[in-house]
């Protein structure tokens, strides 16, 4: 207890939970309610955001490097395992708190407009509030188990919201896929937790991190295994190779959900986890390299797929995977680069939420237009769009801002955060050349990012309109309740870089200094890095040039006149087809993992073990055995009282015989 507003931290998740309870009750009792649901759903988030700001201000005023930990009650007191439900307020969790509640509030407001006509309105907001509750649990928890509850909870909400329109089998399947892929990751998280408890005897962040230097041998097998298992959890939750395939399918959910869960907050949980455990990763150099390497590979791989996708949301989904890869490169680098990763996490939350919400506006408009003309075209396919800039000027402008930001055009937010990562990575390249490769991959990714984002913008908003005349008359800008959040996010994407203007531009690098207490213990374990000012300027130059090449290249290479609507488009050929089909990864997984497991389950587990052994031998066998014993003993039941008396007496005699001996 600090006696300041920091003590109110419990109120933020409690408000979200209250929103879930109220909206959930309304969803069950009066599913048609709209106004009350909107007020509750958005209100609790704004309240949580206000509390977040108050907590943040008070925490800044405390001028403390040490985290403020609140232990509320004992949760699992078993022998030496003592787990309390507790929250930890420190530099990292306050940043995450603000991002989650801030971006969350904007997306809630957007949802009011986007979901207005949906019959599951109350249910939607109940899930969304529940998600925020679990997300806050995840970022605020003061121990691995509390964090894990949040981790599982956001997975559950993700599942519920991906399959929000569950009457469509595709959507329900996408939800299941996300859930199962996440389970694989969660298994890693749990194993890591067991091993951490085994080695340090605790699961509280504070205790674990203070015991880690003595409990583990730096670079030893135990710490490497723990961190790799933790990272397995991250690959599931944050959609990295090899578990990324669920995220593009997760676009089956409502678009604001994609913005909130599958771009801004939940998928960054893995980045948060690595940042939180940066000390452990710093003690295991191999794991750090694996994290950075997988991140870099994922960034490039997803970017290539994004090049040839036609579904506007899928492009953004692969872009999200790619940008998450960037963040993992940063947190895998460790030390001061943690702040670069968190910085990119925050700016990415701004511009990617903006992109998703903008695409939501577009889909909303397309959907309304198709609805007006009773057409059943795909409202998300870019081949059906084109020239929307004339009809949706606000959305177009704001999405261009986000596109420039994600492409890394100065002085937008993405430029600073991406450049921060590249600088840190190349700085590590001097002692460890592997990082030069990661940096190189990052630069290529930056080029591809600029290209496919420009492609998305051009196909959607520019060139001739491909919707058809009837629909064209019904294309309008979304209502103000949807554009207002976009506007705020646009401002944040523009100015988000101010959070962390590096010293190179005589900025104060606020976020980097702010997060210093988090990464302080790990900096000492990592090799000393330094980059000459000239090299830094050169890197900035390369990054800007790459972005420019990407944007201009897309502008010059793509011919907007030759695009035809989706229903008459020819199939791709050659390499484009491989990219269009996502490198056939889903098919490979299906052939290598899914089908053998299904075969094993059906032929061995079901038909043999379950039906033959369990049902046949054990279940029916028990019944048959009972019947046989009953049949054999049937003659005892004569119905003659005299016989019963005799048998009874035999029993008495036996008892007496026991008494005698």
């Amino acid at each position: 207890m600090t006696g300041t507003a920091v003590d109110l931290i419990w109120l933020a998740p409690a408000l979200a939970l209250l929103g879930f309870v109220l909206n959930g009750t309304l969803a069950l009792a009066r599913p048609a309610t709209k106004t009350a649901v909107s007020i509750i759903g958005v209100g609790v988030l704004l309240g949580a955001f206000a509390i977040g700001i108050a907590v943040f201000r008070s925490f800044v005023a405390l001028h403390t490097d040490a985290p403020v930990v609140f232990q509320y009650w004992s949760w699992i007191p078993v022998g030496s395992l003592q787990v309390n439900v507790g929250f930890q307020v420190d530099q990292l969790s306050t940043v995450m708190l603000l991002v989650v509640t801030g971006v969350g509030s904007l997306i809630h407001i957007f949802s009011v407009g986007y979901m207005q006509e949906d019959p599951g309105y109350a249910r939607y907001f109940a899930y969304l509030n529940l998600f925020v509750f679990f997300m806050l649990l995840l970022v605020l928890g003061s121990s691995f188990p509390v964090m894990f509850v949040g981790w599982e909870g956001v997975g559950l909400c993700s599942y519920l919201l991906i399959g929000f329109w569950f009457s469509d089998k595709v959507n329900a399947d996408a939800g299941r896929k996300a859930f199962i892929m996440n389970r694989i990751g969660d298994f890693g998280f749990m194993v890591a937790m067991f091993m951490i408890f085994w080695s340090t005897g605790s699961l509280d962040f504070g205790t674990v991190f203070s015991h880690a230097p003595t409990a583990f041998v730096a670079g030893g097998g135990a710490i490497t295994a723990i961190t790799l298992f933790l990272f397995l959890g991250c690959t599931g939750k944050s959609a990295q190779i090899p578990l990324y395939t669920w995220l593009p399918d997760a676009m089956a959910g409502p678009t604001p959900v994609s913005a909130l869960i599958h771009a801004a907050t939940m998928v960054t949980a893995g980045v948060y986890l690595v940042a939180r455990c940066n000390l452990l990763f710093a003690m295991a150099p191999v794991s750090g390299a694996v994290v950075a390497g997988v991140g870099a590979l994922t960034a490039l791989f997803a970017a290539t797929i994004a090049l040839k996708q036609w579904d506007i949301k899928r492009v953004l989904a692969y872009s999200t995977i790619s940008q998450l890869g960037y963040m993992f490169v940063a947190v895998g680098t460790g030390g001061a680069a943690i702040s670069a990763g968190i910085f990119h996490l925050a700016t990415h939350a701004f511009f990617k939420a903006l992109l998703f919400l903008g695409s939501g506006s577009v889909i909303f408009a397309m959907h309304r237009a198709y609805h007006a003309s009773h057409s059943h075209e795909d409202a998300q396919d870019m081949r059906n769009m084109g020239g929307l800039a004339r009809h949706m000027p606000w959305t177009t402008t704001l999405m261009w801002i986000a596109t420039l930001a994600i492409a890394g055009v100065p002085p937008l937010s993405g430029f600073f955060s991406k450049d921060e990562i590249l600088t840190a990575v190349f700085a590590r390249g001097t002692p460890q050349p592997a990082w030069l490769v990661f940096g190189g991959l990052g630069l290529v990714t930056a080029l591809l990012t600029a290209f496919y984002m420009t492609r998305l913008m051009l196909y959607t908003f520019h060139g001739p309109n491909r919707t058809g005349g009837e629909e064209r008359r019904h294309l309008f800008e979304a209502p103000w309740i949807m554009t207002a959040p976009l506007l705020v996010l646009g401002l944040l994407s523009l100015a988000g870089g101010l959070l962390n203007v590096p010293e190179l531009y005589h900025g104060n690098a606020w976020l980097q200094h702010w997060l210093e207490p988090i990464s302080r213990s790990s900096v000492a374990l990592l090799p000393e890095t330094h980059l000459a000012t000239g090299t830094e300027w050169m890197l900035v130059g390369i990054a800007v040039a790459v972005a420019a090449i990407g944007i201009v290249g897309a502008w010059r290479l793509l011919n907007l006149e030759t695009i035809v609507p989706a229903h008459s488009a020819p199939a791709e050929r050659g390499f484009a087809r491989v990219l269009r089909n996502k490198w056939y990864v889903d098919e490979i997984y299906d052939a290598l993992i899914v089908r053998p497991i299904v075969w094993l389950s059906r032929e061995v587990l079901w038909k043999w073990i379950d039906q033959q052994v369990i049902d046949g031998a054990l279940v029916n066998g028990a019944a048959r055995g009972t019947r046989a014993v009953g049949w054999a003993n049937r003659w005892l039941q004569t119905g003659q009282v005299g016989v019963y008396v005799a048998v009874f007496l035999v029993g008495v005699l036996l008892l007496l015989w026991r008494a005698m001996s």
Partner: protein, 173 residues
């Protein structure tokens, strides 16, 4: 002297009990049982339980056995009919089981089963108690003090038995 009389009445009780279970006619059985009960009453007197002996004659030999005879007469079973004693197999079974039981009871009721002398009252203390409180008073004292609740419950049980017997025996209520 007392021991001799005790054995005489014991033999009477056992003999008449044997006749009771072997006579064919239920009325004869009942009468032999009455003889057993009387012999037991005599043994109770020798065991310093005069009040119980009186109850035995009044309640058992009087009331209960009259009830038996009454039912036998009511059902008109007094005539000698076909025997109800089971055949040789039943006889053998009964003999084996009863023999085993007797053996076991004799072992269990033998010398080592007697209460240890440490907790035994000195000889004649029961007679002294009866001399102090009177024969009925010696039983009535604990009955209405220590065992008051069981006594009341027994009265409820008897009431329930009366009601039950009426319900069962009456043709139409």
């Amino acid at each position: 002297m007392t021991l001799t009389f005790f054995w005489i009445f014991g033999v009477i009780a056992m003999g008449s009990a044997l006749l009771c279970i072997t006579r064919r006619n239920p009325v004869v059985c009942a009468l032999w049982l009455v003889v057993t009960l009387f012999a037991l009453a005599a043994m109770y007197v020798m065991l310093d339980a005069q009040f119980i002996a009186a109850l035995q004659v009044l309640v058992y030999a009087g009331a209960i056995m009259v009830l038996f005879l009454f039912v036998i007469m009511l059902l008109n079973l007094g005539r000698p009919g076909p025997t109800d004693i089971k055949g040789p197999v039943g006889l053998l079974l009964a003999a084996v089981l009863a023999g085993t039981l007797l053996f076991q009871l004799r072992v269990l009721g033998g010398a080592q089963a007697l209460p240890p002398s440490a907790i035994q009252l000195p000889p004649g203390s029961l007679a002294a108690l009866q001399a102090r409180q009177g024969i009925v008073g010696a039983v009535a004292g604990p009955l209405f003090e220590t065992y008051l609740v069981p006594f009341e419950i027994a009265s409820v049980l008897l009431l329930a038995a009366i009601v039950g017997a009426v319900v069962l025996a009456k043709r139409k209520l």
